[in-house]
Every structure is written in structure tokens, then in C-alpha cells.
Symmetry: C2
Subunit: 207 residues, 2 copies
């Protein structure tokens, strides 16, 4: 309870959660910080520190109760309240994201897909009808989605972001290879492949 969680610590919490939900039920009821750390490639102290930011729910000598920890993490991350997600941009990447099982296994559901290409609109993909991007506002309020994923070309990204915010979206996961600007109260995360590849390249060079 002593310290504020660090920015990257949040991502570790998500890792812990994913690890707990991914292992099958035939496991011990308790798990130590040591074991959890090994599973996600971090240190035991790190795990304890991260968790301690949200209260004390480990038992000395035993570790953390798996079920309780899982529930706690789910609560911390706020997963219950953010299930519905909309996706904008159904190109190669967007289609792959629609089919991506990693989202579903983490309780997220893509409830609508949008594009501005008239040749795609009306078609069905993975059980969803691709809709005209102009229907964004209506669909967002109807589905109560708070988060959006955008996988559009770089030059379309800012426009789509603006439209999403107008439609009431509060958090955006951006796959477009560009930075976009949002008001302070809108949350934004980037997933930037080519930057990561560049970084890898740098590290190879300066090993």
C-alpha cells in the first residue's frame, strides 16, 4: 500500500493475471512471488512490490492464494467494466485482430468493426458486419464500448481518433504507425511494430 504503482508495473500486473488464468486448474492453491516471477521473467521482489501497491493479500510462509489473486488482479485492471471494444480499419491487420484469440481469452470482445472502404462495408467477417465509419457514434453509444482499436493507415489515424473521441470512446489502442494527439482525459496506447523492429536492430548493432 506504500507506493504508487509504476507505469510499467501495470503491464506486469497484466502479465501476472494472464499467467494465472493460463495455467490449468490442477495446480497448488497458493503461489509464491518467486514462482510467479519465474513465470513472467521478473524478480520476486518486483512481484511483491507491484502487488503491495494495492494492499496486502499474501500470506507469509505460503504465498498468494491463486484464486484470490486472480480475482484481485481482475478488479485492479478493471476488466469487468471494459469488455466491449470496437475496431476501426479492417485491412490485413484489422482482420487479423478480429480473429485474434488473445483478446477473447482475456475477456474482451470486439463488438463492431468499421471501415471507410465502400467495397468492404456490408461484408461479414468473423461474424461481424463491417459497418460504415459514419455509424460510429450510434454503435458506440448502443454497445457502451469504452475502448477502440484502430488499425488504419498512418495518414488516416488522427481523423479516426477524433471521430472516436466524439463518439464517446475513452481509450484507444493505436496500431497505426504514427503518433496521434488526444485530450488529456483520453487514454492512448501505441502498438508500433516497426519501431520495435528498429529497436531490435539497434540492440543488435550495439550488443
Amino acid at each position: 500500500m506504500s507506493r504508487k504503482i509504476s507505469s510499467t508495473g501495470i503491464e506486469r500486473l497484466a502479465l501476472y493475471y494472464r499467467y494465472l488464468t493460463s495455467v490449468n486448474g490442477s495446480e497448488e492453491a497458493f503461489i509464491s512471488s518467486e514462482k510467479l516471477a519465474k513465470a513472467v521473467e521478473h524478480t520476486a521482489a518486483q512481484v511483491r512490490r507491484d502487488l503491495s501497491c494495492f494492499g496486502t493479500f499474501g500470506t507469509p510462509g505460503r504465498g498468494y492464494n491463486r484464486a484470490a489473486l486472480e480475482a484481485k488482479l481482475s478488479g485492479i485492471l478493471g476488466k469487468e467494466k471494459c469488455r466491449n471494444v470496437v475496431l476501426v480499419g479492417v485491412g490485413n491487420l484489422g482482420s487479423a485482430l478480429l480473429a485474434y484469440k488473445g483478446f477473447q481469452s482475456q475477456c474482451y470482445t470486439i463488438v463492431a468493426a468499421f471501415d471507410n472502404d465502400t467495397r468492404k462495408i456490408g461484408k461479414h467477417l468473423k461474424g461481424l458486419e463491417i459497418q460504415d465509419i459514419r455509424k460510429l457514434s450510434a454503435v458506440v453509444s448502443q454497445t457502451r464500448a469504452k475502448m477502440a482499436i484502430i488499425s488504419v493507415p498512418a495518414d488516416a489515424a488522427q481523423g479516426v481518433v477524433d471521430a472516436l473521441i466524439l463518439a464517446g470512446i475513452q481509450g484507444i489502442l493505436n496500431f497505426a504507425p504514427t503518433r496521434v494527439v488526444v485530450p488529456e482525459d483520453i487514454m492512448l496506447q501505441h502498438v508500433d511494430f516497426s519501431i520495435k523492429l528498429d529497436r531490435l536492430c539497434y540492440e543488435l548493432e550495439h550488443a
Copy 2:
């Protein structure tokens, strides 16, 4: 020259580079740290600090010479030496990555694609024949690829990583939703969608 570049600073360098290469030629010959910062959503001081880690090539009163800066950044990132990349796992995501133009525009080329699914092997996709994963070693040495992208299911990731390292790959960009272990001399970067979505979710909850 005074300080070591920070770990995230490297990603900013890549952003600077991408910005410079993305704007069309009808621009001023010089760009200030201020302008560059605006373009990538950072601060001017940050830009100057990052660049100063690799020497001093700005001119007081004018800014940085665009062409020179672009060349310098390309050199720092080591992009010339790491063009060839192999991809393992041609599912939905892998196919999208094969088609992803962001890599090409950044000088990277996916020179081979692998899978272990016999129904996919031999088929052509985006001008590449999908090859048996057992040919990894031969192809890697033939193409002199140093980097690999893996987009396989979580439970296959570690095995593929081990095989890649045996084949001589030195840097791995991992899209599988799991952590993997590598020897110290192998570079590894994760691109983890669902973790980013979880983080977004958290920030929404604790805004």
C-alpha cells in the same frame, strides 16, 4: 556525447527517423528540436538530449540538417545491416505482417516465411513460398538474416525461439502472447497486444 542513451530513448530515435523519412521533400533543409519534438509528441529538451548521446550535429540558431540527421539516425540504428528478416508462423497475424507495408518503408524485407502446418507449406503468400520450419537453419544462413519475427501460438513460442537461435538468429521480435527465455547475447522484443489492452483498461479505470 555526455550520457548513455536511455532504453526508451532508442525508440524515440526510431520515431525521429520515421518522421524525417515520412515527410515529403518539399521541406526546409533544417529542423529544430522544437519542431521535431512536436511531430513525435515529446519535448524539445528530450530530443536534444537523445541526439546529444551520439555526438553534436546540430547548429545553434538553425537546428538540425534534415538530410544529415536522417543519415546519422539510420547509422545509429544500424538499419543498413539488418534488412533481411524471417517470419515464423503464418496464421492470421503472420499473414498480416507479411503484407505490412510499414516494414518495407523502413527498409526491412521479410525474405522467408515458415510454418509447421503441412497444409500451408508450399503455398505462396505475398510472393513468398511458405516453407517447412525444418528448413530454418539452411535459409537463415543463406539469406544472412539476423532478425526473426515470430507469430505463433503461445505454447509453440519457446520451441520456435530455440530453433531460431540454433539457426543463428540474433534478434527476435515476439508477437506470441507469452514471455520466452533467451541467452544473454540474443536480443528480444515483445509486441503484446492484449497486455496493452489491459493497460488501457487499467488507465480508464484509474483516470
